[in-house]
Every structure is written in C-alpha cells, then in structure tokens.
C-alpha cells in the first residue's frame, strides 16, 4: 500500500522513457535527426539526471497526454541541437579555413570581393530551413489536435482545482453531495484513467503544471480553464505553480498520487470519513484549542472548524508535505510551521499566532489524530 509513496526515481525513468518512446517515431523520416538529437540531448543533462532526482523534469513522459508531446519535444530538441552544431561548424570553418586576415591587417586599401557571389547559400539554406520548419509546424498542429481533449471526449474522474496564494484547493466532484469532498495540495487519481480538471482561482493568476503528466494551464480570474491528464503507472508526480503569483510563488507545489483503482477507492472512502467525536475530555480540549486558534481559516470535517481561507486539514496526517510542498510532513516541521509560518514562507497569509507552548501541544496532538 505504501510502496507508491516512494519518490519516483526519475533518473532511471527518464532513460527508460526515452528509449520506450523511440518506436513512436522510429519509422518517421526524421529518424536520423531525432536519433542524433536524442544522443546529444542525453549528453547534455546526463550528469544531472544521473546524479540526482529530478521530480519536475519533463524530459520523460508518464501519461497518455504527455507521450506525444514528449516525442515532439525530443524531435525539436534534436533538430535544434543539430542546427546549433551545423551553425558553429559553418562559422568556425568559414573563419578558420585559411583565408582570414589578422586583426591588425588594417588600415590599408584592401581588396574587396564582388557582391555577386554567395547567393546560393541563401537559396539552399533558406530552402532547407523552410522545409524543416514546415514539417515542424505540421507536426505541432497534429500533436496539438491529438492532445487537446481526452480520448473519447470524456474523463473517468472530474476534479476542480482552485489556486490560492499560495496553495492548491482540490475538490472531488460527484453527483451525490455525500461523495463530494475537499483536500489540499495533493491530488489522488486512479492510474490509467483519464482525469479532467476544471481550473479556477481565488485571487491572482496561477498555472497548473505536472511535468510528467501534462503541460501548463493557467488559472485566471473570471474564467474556468480545463485540462486533462492520465498517469500510465502508479507513482508520485510533482506539480508546481508556474505563473508568478507573488511573494511565495516559489513555494506553491503539489503532488499527484497515481494508484491502482482499488487503492484509489480506498483512499477516497477514507477521505470521506469525518473526525470521530473526541473520546476523552483531554481530546475534546485539544479539538477546542484547534477550533479556537485555527478554525477561522481551516476546516476539518466533523469539527466546528469550518474556515475556507486556508487549506482543508481533514486527514492532514495522510499527506506527505505541508505548506504546499514547502516542508515534509513531520512532527517537527509541523510544530515549526504552526509556531512561525512567516519564517518558512515569508509573506504567506497564515499569520504568526503567538500560540503558547501548551496550546501548540494541544493543536499538534489534535492534528496528529487526523490520519
């Protein structure tokens, strides 16, 4: 059950992903170019990919929507690198092939060449470039049409994601209100199924991005944008806000957890459960402390805490990170965050509440029960 919580080893995945995406375009006439490009492309990021995890890398794709885009990306990268190399060769050879004059050759009335020669370069060069560019434009439009909407036009799961300065609200929609619930900064999906996401914002413009699964779509006031994606295998995929949205734009991450259908259903059933009534006076006092200090902004299903300004904290302890990916969700980090959020995310809207030691203990003890 917990195995999917292991971070994805993208260093490995990206190599495999590249190889596995080869057949998709190996039959195309651009094969030589793509191979060349991929070879150089691998050389470039290799030191980084090999030595570290790169959870936001989009050099490899992990979903149905991302695959065709990834092929196009690698093809364009290959063309680009080939063009750069050819150009450098042109400039270097043209300069160093033996007829150059030393820098101090002037002044003096030097010979000048006739203006007539050389036009063939432009004819051949621009002709070739135009052919390549037309090919790229056509491939682009074809890919665009292929990924614009989910296959068949409908999705298996519909979500609504709302961007806030600086966290993500996730609403699981269902025709039955009892199956509708909210969570924050984490999106759980069934692997292999298509997910449609309606994007809205509570304040400024944000952008929704899960590099391995889908490119960016902006969240813009006054309109609702749609995106869709699917994850072809179980795993954790990092996402990030990519439209500058203010002081804590840097700390506005989220994670997508793809799991097999049964595990996803189990997670959803668990997420729908409310906090049981406190079993002791001590526990009731803990809840009170939380409601008093935190309940104006945060909600926890089953308590009187119903604030909507901050993330819904129901089942907080099942989450891997807090503060929109800014900190791992451990007791220590949780305490530090509650004690002084402004130290972790300066400028964030969660104020420093100056909670006393005993209050902090109570609030933390309550939060730790939110499995």
């Amino acid at each position: 059950m917990l195995s999917f919580l292991r971070p994805v080893d993208t260093s490995r995945v990206s190599w495999r992903g590249i190889q596995s995406s080869f057949p998709a375009y190996a039959r195309s006439p651009a094969r030589a170019l793509v191979t060349l490009g991929a070879a150089f492309g691998l050389l470039l990021p290799a030191p980084c990919v090999a030595s570290a995890q790169t959870p936001l890398s989009y050099l490899s794709a992990q979903g149905e929507r991302a695959y065709p885009i990834n092929s196009l990306l690698w093809a364009l990268l290959g063309i680009s690198i080939a063009v750069i190399i050819i150009s450098i060769v042109f400039v270097l050879l043209g300069t160093l092939r033996g007829n150059a004059l030393p820098g101090n050759a002037l002044p003096g009335r030097l010979m000048v060449e006739s203006p007539r020669r050389g036009i063939g370069w432009i004819v051949v060069g621009v002709g070739t470039s135009t052919a390549v560019l037309f090919g790229a434009a056509v491939w682009t439009v074809v890919t665009l049409a292929a990924v614009s909407s989910p296959p068949g036009g409908h999705a298996d799961l519909y979500l609504e994601v709302t961007g806030h300065q600086w966290w993500w609200e996730v609403l699981y929609k269902d025709p039955s209100p009892s199956l509708t619930f909210k969570t924050a900064n984490e999106i759980h999906i069934p692997a292999g199924r298509t997910v449609s996401v309606a994007l809205r914002t509570a304040d400024v413009i944000h952008s929704f991005w899960v590099p391995s699964l889908t490119g960016k779509t902006d969240l813009i006031p006054g309109q609702i944008n749609q995106t869709w994606f699917s994850a072809s295998s179980s795993g954790v995929y990092r996402g990030q806000c990519t439209e500058y949205c203010g002081r804590q734009h840097a700390h506005m991450a989220f994670e997508v957890f793809a799991d097999d259908t049964a595990a996803f259903k189990a997670w959803r059933d668990h997420a729908l459960q409310l906090v049981p009534a406190p079993v002791s006076a001590e526990a009731a006092a803990d809840v009170d402390a939380f409601v008093r200090k935190c309940g104006a902004c945060h909600a926890v299903g089953g308590t009187r805490a119903g604030g909507i300004l901050g993330p819904d904290l129901s089942h907080l302890m099942s989450r891997r990170t807090i503060a929109a990916g800014a900190l791992p969700n451990s007791i220590g980090h949780l305490s530090a965050w509650i004690a002084d959020p402004q130290h972790v995310k300066p400028g964030a809207y969660m104020p420093r509440l100056d909670v006393t030691g005993p209050e902090l203990t109570r609030i933390r003890r309550f939060l730790l029960t939110l499995q």
């Binding site: 990021p45 030191p47 980084c48 030595s51 570290a52 790169t54 959870p55 936001l56 890398s57 065709p68 885009i69 196009l72 990306l73 364009l76 750069i84 150009s87 400039v91 300069t95 150059a100 004059l101 030393p102 820098g103 002037l106 002044p107 009335r109 030097l110 010979m111 000048v112 060449e113 203006p115 020669r117 050389g118 370069w121 432009i122 621009v126 470039s129 037309f134 434009a137 682009t140 890919t143 665009l144 049409a145 994007l199 400024v204 952008s207 991005w209 889908t214 490119g215 960016k216 779509t217 813009i220 006054g222 944008n225 990519t242 439209e243 500058y244 203010g246 804590q248 840097a250 300066p346």
Partner: protein
C-alpha cells in the same frame, strides 16, 4: 510649379573641411560652449552618445541587480534576500534591461549614425530629438526613484493583472512602473516618428531606397513597427493606472471585464517590441560584418525584405506568450504555426552572414569576433525560440528556466553582442581613437565564455523543471550544480563587460589615432573626419551605389558617387529633403538652432507625471498648462521654413 522667391538652386562645388564653406558651416552648426550650450544642443551626435552612455548606465544597474539575484540563487534555500526584495530586484532587472537599456542603446547608435549614413546633417526634427532623449532620461530617473521609497515595481516586467491591481499590490510600486512606462512610451513614439521621417526624407541625392545602408533598414522597420505597437502598451498601462487610482475596473473580472485583456494588450506590443530591440542590432551586424569580411553583404535585397517581413509577422505571434491561458485549439494552431514560420526570415539573415564570411576574407579583429560570436548565440537563441513556437511543447517549456535561457540568448546574444561589436566598430568614428585590440580579444572571450557558461545551463535547469521567478528552490530537484555554474558564469560575464568599460576608459585618452576610415569601410560615415565635424558633410554628397566608398574597386558600373563635390547648403542651418523612393532633391529644410526648450518642456512633462504619481492634482494641472505654453513657443510658426531645391543633378 511656379518659380517663387523660395526657390533656390544650390551650387555644386568641391570643398573639403579646410575650405571657407567648412568654416562658415562650423560657425553655423557648432554647439555653444558652456553649460547652457550643453543643455540646449540639438546635435544628433552629442545626443546619440548621451543615449548610448545613459543606456549603458542602465545596463550596469540592471546587471548589478542580476548579480545580486544570482547570489541568492547560487544555492538552494538561501536567505540572502527576502521574497519581497527578490521580487523587486527581478522585476527591476527585467524592466531595466528590456525597456531602459536594450532599445535606447540602439536608438543611441541610430541617432548618432543614421544622419551620417544617409549623407545629411541632422535628424529631421533636431529639437524633438533632444526632447526625446530628455524624456527617456527622466522616465528612467522616475523609475529608479521607486528604489529610494523601497517601492520598486514587483509584479514582473510583464506586470500581469490582477496581481498588479490595487487589491493585491497596494503600494506605489506599480504606479511607478505604469507612469514611467507611459513617459518612456512618449519618448519612443516621438523618436520613431523622427527616424521614419529622417530615413524617408533626408537621404543624399541618388541614395534611392534600394541603396539604403542595410542598418537603416533595421531602424526604419523598427520605427514603423513601433508606431503601430506603442499605443497598445501605453493604453494598457494608462488603463491599469486608472484602475488603480479611480477603480475604473477595466481589467477587473468582478467588474465584468477580463484580466486576460491585459495580456493581449501587453503582448500585442510586447512581441513587436522584442523585434524592435533586436532588428536594429541584427542590421548592425549586417552592416559591420561585410566590412570585416572585405566584401559587400550577400543578398542585400533578401536581408532587407526579411527584416521587414520579420516585423510584419511579429504582429501575428503575440499569442505565443499566452499558449497556456486556455485559448481555442484553432487559435493555438494558427499562432503556433506563425511562431515557427517566423524563423524563415531570420534564416535569410543567418545564411547571408555565413555566405559573407565564406566568400569574403574575414579580418580577425575584435568587432569581427563579436560578429562571429553573435551568429553562434543568434542560432542558439533562435532554435530555443523555435521550440517554444510548438504549442504543446511550449506548455512544458513556458515559465521554466528554458525560457529564461531563451530570452537571455535573445537579449544579450542578439542585442548586447551586436552593441559591443558596434562599439568596437564605431568608437573610432565617435572619438577619433581606436579601442585597444588586445584588451578587445580578452573582452570578447571573457564575455563569450562567461555568457555561455552562465546561460547555457539554464536550458538544462529548465528542461529539468525549474520554474521562473522563484526567489529560492528546494534541494534535491537536480538544479543545484546547474545554478551554481550559472552564477559563476554570470560573474565571468560581468567581468567581461567591466573589461569593455576599462578599454573604453583607457582608449578614450590613449587609443591609437583612428583617422577617417580605419576599417576601410564602405558607408558614408567613414567619409567624414573622426569624430565628424558638427555639420557632418561640407557638401551634400551625391550617391551612385550601395557602397559609396568601395564602388571604384568593385567596378559595378560607370557612374561613381561624388563625395567631395556636392551641394552647398550654407544659407543658415540647412539640410536637403529628398523624395522617399528615388531620393530626388526636393526641398531645402531650414533646421532649428540649439534651444533650451526641449529640456524645459521635458521637465514640465515630467512634473505632470510626478504630480500624478503623488496625487498632487493642482500641480499636474499647472504643469500641463506649462507644457502647452512651452509647446506653443516651440512650435510658433516662423518665416522661411522651407525652400524648394530647384535642381535635378
């Protein structure tokens, strides 16, 4: 046409800079010494150098901001800067470089060179030219005054609403940007009008449009383009300012409008602006490279048409800055395809340069090195731009460091490398002394290596997912060493820029004397002394080819340009106006004297803006009246403004 008292036939004589005519012209055109003369000069050469120096100061300011930013990003989770400080610095860095450095520096070269390249004595509107400079300067001071109040713009140079609206950004930060930008827009628009008229109406007789120096094509295209583009951004910032001061709800979704409107207005200007800050620079390379390759540019006509075509297509690609905003697939397909195909005209220039190098004999001096380096970074910046044109790929690339790499290859690569090539090429013309070539070679390699070490890894950190505009980043994302390399590279690059300044400082006094034409170049500015006399040309030359100083050796035809023998215009400050296409002489223009009015008017306009910023409405009202009054004095009709040149050589 009936003969009137205004018709006059100028004499055609041979005269050099020691002649009586030259002495008379010197007295007419010379700027008066002293502080009043300094503030009232309308000499395009002085104004051009002021433009370049001021723009380079902004380059240094923006560069220092960048170096501070790079320290903060050298390692993950550093706390050298607070998020607010970082936001103000990265915003000011972008605004400074894109608006107050990149375009004004090219304007400086154009203001200095265009009249001489065209064989005339000043810009078409010399006082307007001075006014344009003063407004540029005051808008920059207004922008930087925000630092003093700790309220520098902080919403990025793109300034998207609603983050830049009053609700999310209540300080004066955005007001500074809005007003300074509108002020700069006045300068840019007036400057563009001046260039269009100068290039279309002041060419020496015989310099028909197909003999226009290639560099003038860049300036002309850019100026015409900006006349169409500027209203959009000026209105956008004015609307935003109205929203912020008076709650006009033009960009406010709750008021029934759409925040996305800002992005359309901004980028309809923004993309042509990108071409405005690169096309004149690209044309500078097309002007310098052939001189250094000892042959005329290959494919002059193709390159000139490609320049124009780039600007035309440049108005049809603004949506590629907005591919992620939820637009329809049809719109995305169209703008994606155009964004890819706009590479074609750039390919024309590229192959023209390569052909020029291959079929010529390159002279390996510093300005050639910068041209060659330029071509390499031109290609790298070009292909990364081509990649962002592919819509679905752009959904990945956009707002990551890949795009940061791209814009720096475009802005530094396409602009600054050309500018430095231009400085090495024209410094002897401007000062009479050559820059030191040995320092120059060091200068080139430090800048070239530093630049690529600093900015190439940004492509990779982008591909590995590093978002833009973040004040810090977590470790274990695979970005640490790339960012450290980038920081080191940026400091190397800064060292290279410092070496340029050292070279300028030393060579200004001790450089080798240049003489008239140290590079044995082909265009008209090299027919004047270095530095040129106040009146540029003793007699207005008559032009017979694209390469007036080379044509004898090129043996292109029987007719040769006449440089030492030409039209005498010495009844006051006079220049010749010619027809737009064929450059037939038409009118003798009487040019205005030096005047303090442009400065006075610029100060009054600035007071209007400062008063608006501070909400001192009565002062804004009074200053507006003063502006009107000064304009009235400035434009009061005077006798004998024009004469018909009754002559066809």
């Amino acid at each position: 046409m009936t003969v009137t008292s205004y018709e006059r036939i100028p004499e055609i004589v041979a005269a050099d800079h020691d002649s009586a005519i030259a002495r008379r012209l010197e007295a007419l055109w010379q700027t008066k010494p002293g502080i009043v003369g300094w503030f009232s000069t309308v000499d395009h050469k002085r104004i051009g150098i002021r433009y370049i120096m001021t723009a380079l100061l902004f380059l240094l300011a923006g560069g220092i901001e960048a170096l501070i930013l790079r320290l903060q990003l050298a390692q993950p989770e550093l706390r050298l800067l607070t998020p607010e400080q970082y936001d103000q610095l990265f915003t000011m860095h972008g605004i400074t470089m894109i608006l107050w450095y990149a375009f004004p520096v090219l304007t400086g070269f154009s203001v200095y060179l265009q009249p001489i390249l065209l064989g005339t004595r000043d810009m078409a509107f010399p006082r307007l030219n001075a006014f344009t400079y003063w407004i540029f300067l005051s808008s920059g001071i207004l922008l930087y005054a925000s630092f003093a109040l700790g309220a520098a713009p902080n919403a990025g140079w793109f300034n998207y609403t609603p983050y830049s609206s009053l609700a999310f950004n209540p300080g004066m930060n955005i007001d500074f940007y809005a007003l300074a930008n509108i002020l700069l827009g006045i300068s840019t628009t007036l400057g563009s009008i001046n260039f269009v008229v100068t290039i279309l109406r002041e060419r020496a007789p015989g310099m028909s449009i197909n003999r226009l120096p290639i560099m003038s094509w860049g300036t002309l295209t850019t100026s015409v383009g900006l006349l169409f583009a500027m209203p959009s951004v000026t209105l956008a910032f004015f609307f935003l300012w109205m929203d912020r001061q008076f709650g006009s709800h033009i960009f406010h979704s709750a008021g029934g409008s759409q925040p996305l409107l800002w992005q359309h207005l901004f980028w309809i200007w923004g993309h042509p602006w990108v071409y405005a800050i690169v096309l004149p620079a690209i044309s500078m390379i097309s002007q310098i490279l052939p001189v250094n390759c000892r042959r005329p540019l290959v494919g002059y006509t193709a390159v000139a048409l490609a320049t124009v075509l780039t600007m035309v297509l440049g108005f049809g690609v603004w949506l590629h800055h907005m591919f992620a905003t939820g637009l329809s697939t049809l719109a995305l397909s169209f703008f994606g395809a155009v964004s890819i195909l706009i590479v074609i005209p750039s390919a024309v220039s590229f192959f023209a340069w390569i052909a020029t190098i291959w079929t010529g004999r390159p002279v390996l001096n510093t300005s050639f090195l910068f041209c060659a380096g330029f071509i390499v970074v031109f290609v790298i910046g070009g292909v990364s731009g081509f990649m962002t044109g592919a819509v679905p790929v752009d959904w990945q690339l956009t707002d990551t460091y890949f795009v940061v790499a791209h814009i720096h290859y475009v802005l530094i690569g396409w602009n600054l490398f050309a500018v430095v090539a231009g400085i090495y090429h024209w410094f002897p013309k401007m000062t009479g002394r050559l820059l030191d070539e040995r320092l120059g070679v060091w200068n080139f390699w430090l800048m070239f290596i530093g630049f690529n070490v600093g900015f190439f890894p940004m492509h990779i950190s982008g591909l590995l997912g590093m978002p833009r505009r973040v004040y810090t980043y977590p470790p274990a994302m695979g970005w640490d060493s790339l960012n450290l390399i980038t920081t080191i590279g940026s400091y190397l690059f800064a060292l290279g820029v410092a070496l340029l300044l050292v070279n300028v400082a030393i060579s200004r006094r001790r450089g080798r004397i240049a003489g008239r034409n140290p590079w044995d170049a082909d265009s008209l500015e090299w027919a004047t002394p270095s530095p040129p006399a106040a009146y540029n040309f003793v007699v207005i030359p008559v032009i017979a080819s694209r390469w007036p100083l080379w044509e004898a050796r090129l043996q292109m035809g029987s007719q040769l340009s006449s440089l030492d023998r030409g039209l005498v215009l010495d009844h006051g400050k006079e220049v010749l106006a010619s027809s737009s296409v064929d450059a037939e002489p038409e009118v003798i223009l009487k040019m205005p004297e030096d005047s303090i009015l442009p400065l006075a008017c610029a100060i009054a306009v600035t007071v209007v803006f400062v008063a608006a910023l501070l909400h001192v409405w009565w002062l804004a009202g009074i200053a507006t009246l003063v502006v009107a009054l000064l304009a009235l004095v400035w434009l009061w009709p005077r006798d004998r403004l024009a004469q018909t040149a009754g002559m066809h050589p």
